[in-house]
């Protein structure tokens, strides 16, 4: 089997190399105007410059700040509201479809409104990130707490568990894996929403930098920041998955 895996990896690498090769070829041969598409090597050169000079710091700091605040708001509101809703079958039947319905509409359309409310700075990005991340968190929290196996609850009750013990030793650990999935999804879509909204209307941040270079006809620098954003996305995804795996393992 492991031999087969290597073949998959090889084909994947070959595919990437082909795309980048086509890019390099079309720009170096002048098939595409360098203003629209700089050469791959020029973009990489700029990317290395961005990394080595640390020019990315101010924008990265803004984007990460927005992401963390947005995530904390979504996580605390989503977990609290989700738990409260999960307490009765009635409120689950009322609110679960309601949240699922709102989740399915493109919430990013609220962004212009948020710019009016919270301004062009970090406020509107935090608001849109928190709004979008709230839904997977709240829905998974309802699912986690609302459908705990009754046998666990009955067993704990028969052994005399108090309300506090029931919450921390039975409900919470039973619901946690499902909640964790919601938190991971929320974190990732908050990052996407914040980057995207920075490219629409903003004062700083990674998305802002990318649009600024695009508008000033400096596409090599724009690609350098796109590479950087991809790098950050990869780092965030990997660390979130690692945290999740670690927590789940400790969970048994």
């Amino acid at each position: 089997m492991s031999g087969g895996r290597w073949i998959y990896r090889l084909v994947q690498l070959a595919f990437l190399a082909a795309v980048l090769g086509a890019w390099q070829y079309s720009s170096s041969e002048g098939l595409v105007s360098p203003i629209l598409l700089p050469s791959f090597t020029a973009s990489v050169h700029e990317f290395v410059k961005v990394l080595s000079t640390g020019a990315f710091w101010p924008d990265l700091r803004v984007t990460l700040y927005e992401l963390i605040v947005a995530f904390l708001i979504a996580a605390s509101a989503g977990c609290t509201i989700g738990y409260l809703v999960s307490r009765t079958g009635y409120s689950i039947r009322v609110f679960d479809p309601l949240f699922a319905g709102i989740y399915s509409i493109p919430t990013i359309l609220l962004f212009p409104l948020y710019v009016l409310f919270f301004g062009l700075g970090a406020g509107s990005k935090i608001a849109i990130g928190a709004t979008i991340a709230f839904f997977p968190v709240v829905l998974n929290t309802i699912a986690g707490f609302g459908f705990v196996d009754k046998t666990y609850v009955t067993a704990a009750r028969s052994m005399g568990a108090s309300g506090v013990q029931m919450f921390w030793s039975v409900l919470m650990p039973a619901a946690f894996p499902v909640m964790l999935t919601g938190l991971r999804m929320g974190f990732i879509i908050a990052f996407l929403a914040i980057l995207g909204s920075e490219t629409i209307a903003s004062l700083s941040g990674l998305g802002h930098r990318i649009v600024t270079y695009a508008e000033s006809m400096d596409p090599a620098k724009m690609f350098a920041y796109i590479f950087f954003a991809i790098l950050i996305a990869l780092l965030l995804n990997t660390s979130v998955s690692m945290i999740e795996a670690r927590v789940r393992r400790g969970h048994g």
């Binding site: 046998t151 666990y152 009955t154 067993a155 704990a156 009750r157 028969s158 052994m159 005399g160 568990a161 108090s162 013990q165 030793s169 039975v170 650990p173 039973a174 946690f176 969970h251 048994g252």
Partner: protein, 272 residues
């Protein structure tokens, strides 16, 4: 934990207990139990047997205080049951009611914490309970890593660790294959003979009922009442030779005769 009262006489009295599910007039309204009465003597193992849906598990939940009867009264040690009393009554459930996110020993210790046992005792009591069911080497395993039979042993350890005078068992071996079940039955008989607990044991299996019980209460089809109580009159612990004895076969047949009509009744009732 033996309470002051005498060692003989009724430990559990069930008097005219009726349990109805659903409001009056609802077509789904079910009378699970109707004026069921039974007494269980101290130190006795009473098996409840009957057709599906006859209310035997319902009665067990009422004894354990996990539900309240619509009418009638249940008393344990002369005290009317009004809710779970974890210091007196421990439970073993049908499916695995172990918490899968905790190791076997942590499951036992969590039960002790729920019960309010002093922290200093929990380790020792948990280890002793696991040793008693032969799971000493599996203390650090998670329930998901155990076989069905071992899970039920672990659940039994959790209940034994609570050191209650009463033990309620709701079809604890129902999900196991017959061979595992027989071995567990032998071990249980051995173990319980030493503890002197008063036990109510719900089962579907005629052989299991005769093999384990001092007395077997046979339920009617729904609405459940107690049709007859059969005494087994055989000392504990019971050996393999009792399993193959004529006495067991005779009692098993007697139970079958009693149950046969009741089982037919439920089958007619549930036929579409």
């Amino acid at each position: 934990m033996n309470s002051g009262g005498g060692r003989s006489g009724a430990a559990i009295t069930i008097e005219g207990v009726t349990q109805v599910f659903g409001p009056e007039g609802d077509p789904r309204r079910v009378v699970a139990l109707e004026k069921a009465s039974l007494t269980v003597a101290r130190g006795e193992l009473m098996c409840l047997i009957g057709p599906s849906g006859c209310g035997k598990s319902t009665l067990l939940n009422l004894i354990g205080g996990l539900a309240s009867p619509t009418a009638g009264e249940i008393a344990i040690d002369g005290e009317i049951v009004r809710g779970p009393s974890p210091k007196k009554v421990a439970y073993v459930f049908q499916e695995s009611a172990l918490f899968p996110w905790r190791t076997v020993i942590d499951n036992v210790k969590l039960g002790l914490a729920f019960q309010g046992a002093p922290k200093a005792e929990r380790d020792e009591r948990a280890n002793a309970a696991l040793a008693a069911v032969g799971l000493g080497d599996f203390a650090q395993h998670y329930p998901g890593q155990l076989s069905g039979g071992m899970k039920q042993r672990a659940q039994l350890a959790r209940a034994l660790g609570l050191k209650t005078d009463f033990l309620l068992m709701d079809e604890p071996f129902a999900a196991l294959d017959e061979q595992t079940r027989m071995v567990l039955g032998e071990d249980l008989s051995e173990l319980l003979a030493r503890t002197g607990k008063t036990i109510v044991f719900v089962t579907h299996s005629l052989v299991e009922a005769v093999f384990l019980a001092d007395r077997v209460a046979v339920f009617t089809a729904r609405p459940g009442r107690i049709k007859e109580v059969i005494a087994v009159e055989e000392g504990h612990p019971r050996s393999r030779s009792f399993m193959t004895s004529d006495k067991l076969a005779r009692l098993r047949n007697q139970l079958y005769e009693l149950l046969h009509d009741e089982i037919r009744k439920t089958m007619v009732e549930t036929r579409p």
